[in-house]
Symmetry: C2
């Protein structure tokens, strides 16, 4: 194996500064400028081709002349308190124009007014607890929830389902404040005036809300806004905790786990304390949806021997404001990887397979750039894509490596990280693998660094969950055991600057370099190894583990399992078939005649198509664009990856169904689909004739 | 090109007799015996492997102790006339047991009683005419329609939609009687006591009604009968014209084109003539649905160089009774092709690609065997199948060749038939191409033998319409200009014997041999040519033709086209893109380095995946298993192939929609999907990187 892989993405990161000086929200002039600059530099670096690929997608912006805010209104209708219209701008950026204020993209417009109800994190279980245990109905109320734990779009969906007429989300220090750390700029915690931007869609993988299933080209048919996918029907707005403390909630005292870290009582409402009982909350939301042109930048290195096999490194470029962490710490990695690859090309190197580099647009608005391109190129990708490596934020903490990927990439990730040096001080001569392993061992059963399932929340989604392309992501992360805040404190605020990375997260840029080496190394090895470095045995192991956990979940209903004759035997038998097929496949690989290009291609195709075997074109129930039978984002939190999501969701519905027989029938149907899919995947690994 | 192709399927047809002596309905012991015999002989012939592949699908049989029949009942409820319980058995078969009487498979059970209404062929337009022009409502009536013009399942669907509570179908001599020909056994016309069996499902490609989308294995989840796909909710029964003339219809005189060739008035009803006004019709239907085991036989010749590329020759084995024409005239062709291939194998030949031979079961019950196997092997087929050639009835007339196939096979069909000898007397030394061309020139614009679009009604459906595998079928046919009867007169009756072929259709067996040479030749050339003999230019030509005809159809509404801003520009532009890409592709093919196995494979893959490019995983509206954007069976007659079916159906709905704006929006959406799909297909033909 080529030793170049270890130094291939020599990461200078300097480029990060030049792409973080100015706000570059999707659909803006500045984000187009950056796209052009990236295109020009990639061409200069020596890629075979670079193109700008535009789509016209639905975006959402605050109305510049009618800002969004939350008010407290007295009984005369006077606004006695208004939430802030913007975050205090960090030092050095005072003269910057086009900083979009905190808002919830795709919020409905409107001025709902009413009593406030606090619903903790706005999770399904929080709304259940509110309604069933506390007896509070939020119909016609405005709910307020704290950010964290789940994707904000799911909070909004839950609020809508519960009947609320508006929803306010705030950042609580309990969730966006690390112990012993100062707020930015003295430290990396979220200032009280900061708030989290973000889209509040429920797309379930549809991409552009107006063109589900098809790329948003000039001639593409667009649904009306009423028929668009995943658009919330109620106003939504985010605030920081300096604003949140002004809401003098009355009503019941909440359970302790509903209490955040502010010096207030976290009462549930409805409405304010007795002193302010006559006051209401009014949301003033004037955000506009607008079909807007976005630009992906797509660069290519043509494969020398198999130009029709694609290895993709993609990450987004658009940022809520400066994007110091999200996404530019990742985009810089892509840029440096392209630079390094260009250097190698100029020395005569050319990979066996084609490498595709992508700078996606409008990720923040629902993974739109990457999903539209996946829709546009679905056939080519289905037939030709070997793997997709995602390059969003390269850093969300300072503790160790975090990898989420498909099981077939586990072995490659381990092999690769053993050849990369730890970026941590005092670990000279220690491998990244060892450093990572020491900090995050998988489980008691498995002595290896932890690798997680892919959920969603970044651009790999359409590639992995819709198209079934082996995918992975890597970044530097926090210590999950001790650092309990969500994502990282300044996430999606104006305080995500280049300086926060340089001063706090990675002053020596060694962590970013390690992440770059992982991402670039994966791309290099996938593109240039004669035999694809994908491991079917690992997939078998993971399937067995998932089958056991989903069975355990079902067995919390032992009575019904008997009554409705629910059995997981077919699934375990399928997993066994898959295990045998995978083992036999890797054994045959040992004796493959590597000098015969067709024989090599045949077995590589089996490896490439392994992930595709888990795709069901019929999709998951109610989620036609989530088609992976083994992995999907949770229906209740798109950030989290579920295994056997069809079975999982059916089991979840058991608890809430009025017709338990029907609900259990659906569990049985989903077990049958899972068993069939795993059996079919096993068949793809057997000798082809 | 190897000259062996012309003699490869040396057709002895003798096998046809041994598989037509006994009734072999799907799901019966005898059909399993034939399957075992085929398996054993294929192994003997020398195939590399042969397996029996069982599925447990929903079949439907008459109740042996409670036969189905139609009665006329008087006002006291006495049955004053009963339709015959069976067809007179042909000479030589008097002692044969297990001849299933004529019935409509999957009919609902029941004894509906009421007035009869005659609705011509039971087409959509017939029901419209009945309701709108004649002012007759069939709610709570039993309808009677003649067989012919469209698939019987569509007649049943139309009757249900119109509100009828039962439907009787009869064979009219106008539709099942050739001029100057005696009824069987003196000739090949349908005797008056004969009737047409057949299933009356509306599956739209779903396969087994209880397991749509998934193979019907032991562990597969099954829907209840109520939730099954395409099962009619009303009783259905077929009768011959000897029974039909007893129904003394009263009411309006019908238009001339509603009149058949019986010596009766073809009045429309409701009810009988005045003399018999108090009499009613009663249907007595006791047919049972039953999950039953069926068996496909799958044989394989492993490809020498590309074992993972499949060329499939498949045809069904199950017959309503003896299957002298349908299917055994086709199954014999498969059998003889296997024998010939075995002979070549024993001489050291081995094709470049894998050949798969299939003897399907339960075609007559909704293409079940072939569809379940397609579902079972969907991933392998999507990734590896080059082409599917169907082998149902090899003969339906005595006039000339008939070929229905995908446009990319046109050139191969022409090239091949130029090298096959005409089977017609007096045409020694004339090619099949010339003989065919002389009898059935395409159009004034195109001087070549006519090739038609694939519709459905046989086992290619799942392979072509669901999976997007290039497909074709060939048979000997009648002269469509002079012979106006539907299919062939004895179709699906007990009179489909080996003798009817031997005595009338093909006494020298030369026509069957010619069909065998076409089918076998296609398989051979597809499996053994270094470059796949598929023609993208022909696809471009066809797409242009289809785009013009669908545009012309839309232009019958010039006003609305303007009001709703309907444009076909995007579709024509896509067809132009496709045309250029196809031309460039074939140009590059000229300079391909054929000594480089990977370069050859890359371009062959582009050809193989061309048909796949037209598949939309979202399916056609309301028909999730019809996924081919260019071709689908008509929504109104599954036998007929439509081009741009999504646009066509949307235009059809214009006429009947209460909301024209919404209907035109759907037309625009479908044009956009078609344009996108053709553009995406063009991309698959461009250089891969």
């Amino acid at each position: 194996m080529c030793s170049k892989s270890h130094t291939f993405p020599v990461c200078t990161i300097a480029c990060s500064t030049k792409f973080t000086r100015l706000p570059h929200l999707a659909g803006t002039e500045q984000n187009l400028r950056y796209a052009e600059q990236i295109r020009d530099e990639w061409l200069e670096f020596g890629l075979d081709s670079v193109e700008m690929v535009p789509y016209d997608v639905l975006l959402s912006y605050p109305n510049k002349s009618q800002p969004n805010y939350i008010s407290i209104v007295d009984q005369l209708g006077n606004e006695v308190f208004n939430s802030s219209l913007a975050e205090p701008v960090p030092e050095g950026y005072e003269d910057t124009s086009n900083i979009v204020p905190p808002y919830s993209a795709f919020s409905a417009k409107g001025q709902p007014e009413g009593d406030l109800v606090y619903v903790n994190y706005g999770r399904t279980e929080d709304f259940f607890q509110l309604e069933r245990e506390m007896g509070i109905n939020v119909t016609e109320k405005i709910v307020i929830v704290r950010y964290g734990k789940i994707f904000r779009g799911n909070k909004v969906k839950n609020a809508m389902l519960a009947g609320a007429k508006g929803i306010i989300m705030f950042s609580d220090p309990a969730d966006y404040w690390a112990a012993g750390v100062q707020p930015y700029p003295a430290g990396w915690n979220l200032p009280g005036g900061g708030a989290q931007r973000g889209n509040v869609l429920n797309l379930n993988g549809a991409g552009d809300p107006l063109t589900p299933g098809y790329p948003a080209k000039d001639y593409t048919y667009r649904f009306s806004l009423e028929d668009g996918v995943g658009l919330p029907k109620i106003p939504v707005h985010p605030i920081g905790f300096h604003d949140a403390i002004h809401l003098n909630m009355g009503g019941q005292i909440p359970p302790n786990n509903w209490k955040g870290a502010l010096n207030v009582s976290y009462r549930i409402g409805p409405g304010f304390t007795d002193d302010f009982k006559s006051q209401k909350v009014r949301m003033n939301i004037n955000t506009d949806n607008k079909v807007t042109r976005i630009y992906n930048v797509i660069g290519r290195i043509r494969g020398a021997l198999e130009p029709d096999r694609y290895v993709i490194l993609g990450g987004h470029r658009d940022a809520w404001v400066f994007g110091g962490i999200d996404p530019m710490s990742g985009a810089a990695v892509v840029h440096e990887t392209v630079r390094s690859a260009g250097r190698l090309l100029s020395k005569g190197w050319r990979p066996r397979r084609t490498i595709v580099f992508a700078s996606w647009d409008a990720e923040e608005f629902g993974l739109l750039g990457s999903t539209e391109w996946a829709e546009d190129n679905a056939k080519l990708l289905q037939e030709r894509a070997v793997a997709y490596i995602n390059a969003d934020s390269a850093i969300e903490g300072m503790y160790t490596l975090r990898v989420d990927c498909t099981p077939s990439l586990h072995t490659l990730v381990y092999d690769l990280t053993k050849q990369i040096t730890s970026p941590e001080e005092g670990e000279e001569g220690v491998s990244l693998y060892e450093s990572w392993h020491k900090r995050d061992n998988w489980t008691n059963d498995r002595d290896a660094p932890r690798i997680s399932k892919l959920g969603s929340g970044s651009d790999f989604e359409a590639y992995f969950i819709r198209l079934g392309i082996a995918a992975g992501r890597a970044r530097y992360t926090k210590n999950k055991k001790t650092e309990r805040y969500s994502s990282y404190p300044v996430y999606h605020s104006v305080y995500e600057t280049f300086e926060i990375v340089e001063k706090f997260y990675d002053p020596t840029f060694k962590r970013l370099q390690a992440v770059a080496q992982v991402r670039g190394g994966l791309i290099f090895l996938l593109a240039d190894s004669q035999l694809l470095p994908l491991d079917a045995d690992q997939y078998a192991d993971s399937l067995r583990k998932y089958a056991h956990s989903i069975t355990q979940l079902a067995q919390t209903h032992p009575e019904e399992m008997k009554v409705y004759e629910v059995s997981f035997d077919s699934l375990f038998s399928a997993v066994e078939n898959f295990t045998v097929a995978a083992r036999d496949f890797h054994e045959r690989l040992q004796t493959l005649n590597r000098a015969d290009p067709l024989q090599v291609r045949v077995m590589n195709d089996q490896l490439m198509y392994l992930e595709r075997a888990f795709i069901d074109p019929l999709g998951l129930p109610g989620r036609p664009f989530y088609r992976h039978v083994i992995f999907a984002p949770s229906s209740h939190n798109k950030y989290a990856g579920m295994s056997f999501p069809g079975i999982y969701d059916a089991l979840f519905d058991i608890e809430h169904s009025a017709d338990p027989q029907k609900a259990w029938e659906e569990v049985k149907r989903q077990i049958s689909i899972a068993a069939f899919t795993v059996n079919a995947a096993a068949m793809t690994l057997t000798p082809p004739a």
